[in-house]
């Protein structure tokens, strides 16, 4: 099976080729063939991933690192890079949910995008291209191939955000996402170059993960910190953290399945995947980890506070994604890498579910996105309601559901590693999460319907292709957490043990160099007792319940109160509603000065000086051509004289100047 791993990314690539090159004809001939090609490509990838995963499980823990080299990709002097894949616990966990959730969303898209006449094939081509890039990102065994996937998913995200580019706002949102990501990618590339050149000084001209990490201890600490921080800037763009998160809410301009797949479940988690993959480097730099933890916690809080006031259903979910990603980074920052990945997995289930449910609601309500014009959908869309309720309970961390285990794991590890302040932020944010998520549920599904009469008449439950993925994802959101039940609750935290070989800390350690660092880290932390763990768990559950209760009071019972509150705290409300004016701030300090400088470079330097010189030169050449052609008289005598003069010149110059 390991020899067939190249098929996992190649199948979606074949889908891209088929639908991309022939899609227009296929769609004209038989529309269902388009989605059959796309879905079966991803479905087969998922199937192959499962087989590979099962085979990996057969191996003893210390042997779970299989590399498959497809071909030599780039070779320049001593530098070598291969197109090669790596099968290990981390890449398999990522690949499983990427292909699995991806497959479900492909199926959902059949129903959701059914009305996209003429662009149907294009949509599925982009979606398959995204799968190809994402699989490369998680399966690559070296930085370079991973970066190819990294750029690829960014590109697909751009294409899909602006999928309905007929509306200029969508096109602008795509551009914003792309440019913001380019800023991060630039930092990422600088970090990569720094890493390559410094390893090269030690004779390691490779970007292979295993090789880089095993030689990482040779790097000076300052360089490691710089590399880690530069990489992290790349991650803040891709995974929507402060300061580069601003593109994700706007990215909701894309079709809803795209928001679910790319901007909630998979692509935006690649930053967490990358930091986890490079945990050996990050463990060498306490400063970088500290920065990650703080940025993660602050992002979680900031995004949750904005989500409290938004009325657009997809925007609420988008800010919730940013906030949850913040949690994950918080986990990474305190050294709980596997807890971060655990949350990535459970989050991918329930956040994909929530987006798809939101899409289902919008589908039934003639694409209405404003929650103020929803309400009462509980009766009319029962499946959507129930599944979304499960998803919401999962995300707020209701005991027993997926989010409970993974979020609590992060909060517990934060507390246990001594970051009490960050822990407090995390718990407070959990309360906010409960509030805004249930605000969404109550506004959408409870009370009376506030949509216009024509729209109300057409409300319907979504087709089967859409509800079946919802049910599957709801089931996963309910039980997905049981792969990581902590010891305190009688579980064995299987995912953590499974991921141990990748972390450079466990017994089945495959990568040298991380061990003593991990020991040091373990030494420094203090170990609170089991009783404390239970207490904290109860506390966070209590806060979640308070949040839910508050939302119930404000949005079902006393519905006049929110307006009063908003008036009373109008300053704070306006800050939150306007997203803390971050976009405006960036506009003031970065975009507009840059724009002005560009204008000057364009009008002042480029048009006046550079174009002037170029055009002037061109005109000079033109004139000299016109002048020179008059020498060409057409008289043989003149030609002969020219020849004669040439010879004479040559002879005189040589005989009298060169040979005196």
């Amino acid at each position: 099976m390991f020899d067939l791993v190249w098929l996992i990314p190649t199948l979606p690539a074949l889908g891209v080729l088929l639908n991309g090159l022939l899609g227009r004809k296929i769609e004209a001939a038989n529309k269902s063939l388009v989605h059959w090609i796309a879905c079966s490509a991803v479905g087969l990838s998922f199937f192959l991933t499962c087989l590979t995963f099962l085979e990996l499980l057969q191996l003893p823990a210390e042997l779970r690192l299989v590399e498959f080299t497809w071909f030599n990709w780039i070779s320049a002097g001593e530098f070598q890079s291969y197109w090669a894949y790596q099968i290990d616990p981390l890449s398999m966990v990522m690949c499983l949910f990427v292909t699995g959730v991806g497959f479900l969303i492909h199926i959902y898209s059949i129903g959701y995008m059914g009305h996209a006449e003429g662009r149907y094939y294009r949509y599925f081509t982009y979606l398959n291209l995204f799968m190809f890039s994402m699989i490369n990102l998680v399966l690559a065994n070296n930085f370079l191939l991973m970066f190819l996937g990294w750029e690829g998913v960014g590109f697909c995200s751009y294409l899909l955000i602006g999928f309905w580019f007929g509306n200029i706002d969508n096109a602008r949102a795509g551009k914003k996402a792309f440019i913001t990501n380019r800023i991060g990618d630039f930092a990422f590339l600088v970090g990569l170059f720094l890493l390559i050149t410094h390893l090269g000084k030690h004779g390691v001209w490779s970007v292979n993960f295993t090789e880089v990490f095993s030689h990482a201890s040779a790097l000076p600490p300052g360089i490691v910190t710089a590399v880690c921080l530069l990489f992290f800037i790349g991650c803040t763009a891709k995974s929507a953290q402060i300061p580069l998160y601003i593109w994700l809410p706007d990215a909701m301009a894309g079709p809803t399945p795209v928001s679910a797949l790319i901007h909630a479940a998979t692509m935006v988690t690649s930053g967490i995947y990358f930091v986890t993959r490079s945990n050996i480097l990050y463990q060498m730099s306490p400063l970088a980890l500290q920065v990650i933890a703080v940025v993660g916690a602050l992002t979680a809080l900031l995004a949750a506070s904005i989500a409290l006031t938004q009325n657009d259903i997809k925007r609420v979910l988008a800010y919730s994604t940013v906030s949850q990603l913040g949690y994950m980074f918080l986990g990474l920052g305190v050294g709980a890498f596997s807890a971060g990945i655990f949350h990535v997995v459970t989050h991918s289930f329930f956040k994909a579910l929530l987006f798809l449910c939101a899409g289902s609601v919008m589908h039934g309500l003639a694409n209405e996105q404003d929650m103020r014009f929803m309400g009462g959908m509980r009766k009319k869309m029962p499946v959507t309601y129930l599944t979304m309720l499960i998803g919401t309970l999962a995300i707020v961390g209701f005991p027993g559901l997926a989010g409970f285990f993974s979020k609590d794991e992060i909060l517990w590890k934060t507390f246990a590693s001594g970051h009490v302040l960050l822990w407090m932020i995390g718990v407070f944010t959990a309360g906010l999460t409960a509030f805004y998520m249930f605000r969404l549920i109550f506004m959408t599904f409870f009370n009376e319907c506030r949509a216009s009469r024509e729209v109300q008449a057409k409300i319907h439950e979504s087709p089967r292709t859409m509800t079946v993925p919802l049910i599957v994802l709801a089931a996963l959101s309910a039980i997905g957490g049981y792969i990581g039940v902590p010891h305190a609750l009688g579980g064995s935290n299987r995912i953590e043990h499974f991921l141990e070989p990748v972390m450079g800390t466990g017994p089945g350690k495959l990568i040298a160099g991380g061990e003593h660092l991990a020991q040091e880290a373990a030494h420094g932390a203090y170990h609170p007792s089991l009783a404390v763990e239970y207490l904290l768990m109860l506390l966070s559950v209590a806060i979640v319940l308070i949040g839910i209760g508050l939302a119930y009071t404000l949005y079902v019972k006393e519905r006049e109160r929110p307006v009063q509150l908003a008036e009373r705290f109008s300053g704070l409300y306006r800050l939150m509603f306007n997203k803390w004016y971050v976009d405006e701030l960036y506009g003031l300090i970065a975009v507009r000065p840059l724009h002005r400088a560009s204008l000057f470079l364009w009008k002042g330097i480029d048009v006046l000086i550079i174009d002037g010189v170029v055009n002037g030169l061109a005109r000079i050449f033109g004139w000299s051509g016109t002048w020179l052609r008059t020498v060409q008289t057409g008289y043989v005598q003149a030609y002969a004289v020219s020849l004669l003069l040439g010879v004479a010149g040559l002879m005189l110059y040589t005989l009298f100047v060169l040979v005196p």
Partner: protein, 489 residues
């Protein structure tokens, strides 16, 4: 007892391709005179068959490194590569001519094809000559054949004028060449290139003698005339424009290849060790040749005349290789000549496609809108233009790259900078053809466009494919060129 007369060793094997070519020429002539075949393309097909056969026999001589006919003929990789190039030029020209004779039935005659072959035999002997006498005879064989071919449109005044001009100027320049050879003989006492190299090596003081230097410069004049080096280029535009289009392509590539072969044989090897900085002269000549060619090409309205000036510019690029010296530069020149054959005959071939009875069409205006009307023709022309401009991934780019990098290795950075600048200038007029073809509405009067015959489809396809192969997979031919450089035994 009188001294025994010893017959020199005769090795016909070494000149088998040339013999076969000459026999084909005679055969075509006879077939035409006695009217043996009546079909339209018969003469061309017979010629083609003979040339292809001769080309195949070339390969039996690969890897040889010897002299024949008492040193008259050098059989080595250098002559192999150039003979291959010349045969390809000949094949492409014949294929293009088969289409051209639809408009100009006069072309379809035994004399035409036999003259074409005789010119090629001359070129081929120039590439293989180890002796100045043979070099001169071969050059004359080539030149005289081409004088006639240039004037082959017997009823067209421009054609006649071009032939007369070329003949007069050619005779004038050849006299310089002959005088130069005589001086060289006077200074070194030999006409044999290898012996001359040997003599120079053992008597370096001869290099600074006035007699020798005069010989060098006069020889340079004679050969510079053939490659249209500035200031001996004046004839080029008139002759190229007046000659039948197919002949223009033939002489632009073939004569250039042969004359550069002679330049390499004489200048790059025996004179490579000239103590005075004479490369300065060639440096200036190269820059002037590139610049004058490119700048005047900018303002031409006729594509044919534009290509004539572009031919001057390309001679300039090739001269950079001669200035650079060394085996790398030699290989670069060989490679460039091969690419140039494909792209230039291709470009003139497209020109030859358009026509009406006894009329050629070759102004920019007449090409407007053609790219959209005839996509394949447009694509082929685009490939030729991009290659001539030296834009990757075409062969023209690789050729320039090899020559320029050899020059940089020899330290002529500024020369390369000027060469690159000239390439930039040239992009303007090459791309203008493409712009006109694709982005301008076609003119009111309809240009006659005959259904392209299989022959020209094959010819242009071959040329375009050659360009792309040389551009994308250069290594095979580049290695071949590197193994084909002239190193005196």
């Amino acid at each position: 007892m009188s001294p025994e007369f010893i017959l020199p060793a005769v090795n016909f094997q070494c000149i088998l391709p040339q013999i076969l070519l000459s026999l084909t020429a005679l055969l075509v002539l006879l077939v035409d005179v006695f009217g043996l075949v009546k079909k339209a393309n018969a003469l061309a097909l017979i010629t083609l068959a003979g040339v292809v056969f001769a080309t195949l026999t070339l390969f039996s001589g690969t890897g040889l490194q010897e002299t024949a006919f008492s040193g008259m003929i050098l059989v080595d990789g250098f002559s192999f590569f150039l003979n291959l190039t010349i045969c390809l030029i000949l094949i492409l020209t014949i294929l293009v001519s088969m289409n051209y004779q639809q408009f100009f039935p006069g072309i379809n005659s035994g004399e035409y094809y036999s003259l074409l072959i005789f010119a090629a035999v001359g070129m081929s002997f120039m590439a293989a000559a180890g002796n100045l006498i043979l070099l001169f005879v071969a050059l004359e064989l080539m030149s005289v054949s081409i004088y006639v071919l240039v004037g082959f449109h017997k009823d067209n005044l421009r054609s006649i004028e071009a032939a007369l001009k070329y003949f007069l100027m050619g005779a004038f320049a050849t006299s310089f060449l002959l005088l130069g050879f005589a001086f060289l003989y006077g200074a070194t006492g030999t006409m044999d290139l290898l012996t001359m190299t040997e003599f120079i090596r053992s008597n370096p003081e001869v290099l600074s003698s006035g007699l020798f230097l005069s010989g060098v410069l006069l020889t340079l004049t004679g050969l510079g005339f053939k490659i249209s080096m500035v200031p001996f280029h004046m004839w080029t535009p008139d002759v190229y424009e007046g000659a039948p289009t197919v002949i223009t392509g033939f002489m632009a590539t073939g004569v250039k290849a042969a004359a550069f072969a002679a330049l390499v044989r004489i200048f790059m090897v025996p004179l490579g060790s000239l103590p005075i900085d004479w490369s300065m002269l060639l440096w200036v000549a190269a820059v002037l040749t590139m610049t004058v060619g490119n700048i005047i090409a900018l303002v031409q309205d006729s594509i044919k005349r534009m290509l004539a000036y572009s031919g001057i510019a390309h001679a300039g690029y090739l001269l950079i290789g001669v200035v650079a010296g060394g085996e790398l530069a030699q290989a670069g020149i060989l490679y460039y000549l091969l690419v140039y054959a494909f792209m230039n005959i291709g470009a003139f071939g497209v020109l030859a496609l358009l026509g009406k009875k006894e009329t050629e069409y070759n102004t920019l205006q007449e090409f407007s809108g053609l790219g959209l009307k005839y996509p394949v023709l447009g694509l082929a022309m685009a490939v030729f233009m991009f290659s001539l401009a030296g834009i990757p991934p075409t062969g023209g780019f690789m050729g320039k790259l090899y020559i320029f990098s050899a020059a940089i290795k020899s330290g002529y950075v500024w020369l390369v900078v000027l060469g690159a600048l000239n390439s930039v200038i040239s992009i303007y007029y090459y791309l203008r053809v493409i712009v006109v073809m694709y982005f301008q509405e076609s003119g009111a009067e309809d240009v006659a466009f005959p259904a392209p015959s299989p022959a020209i489809t094959l010819g242009l396809g071959l040329a375009a494919a050659g360009i792309m192969i040389l551009g994308v997979f250069p290594s095979y031919f580049w290695v071949l060129a590197q193994n084909s450089v002239f190193v005196p035994m």
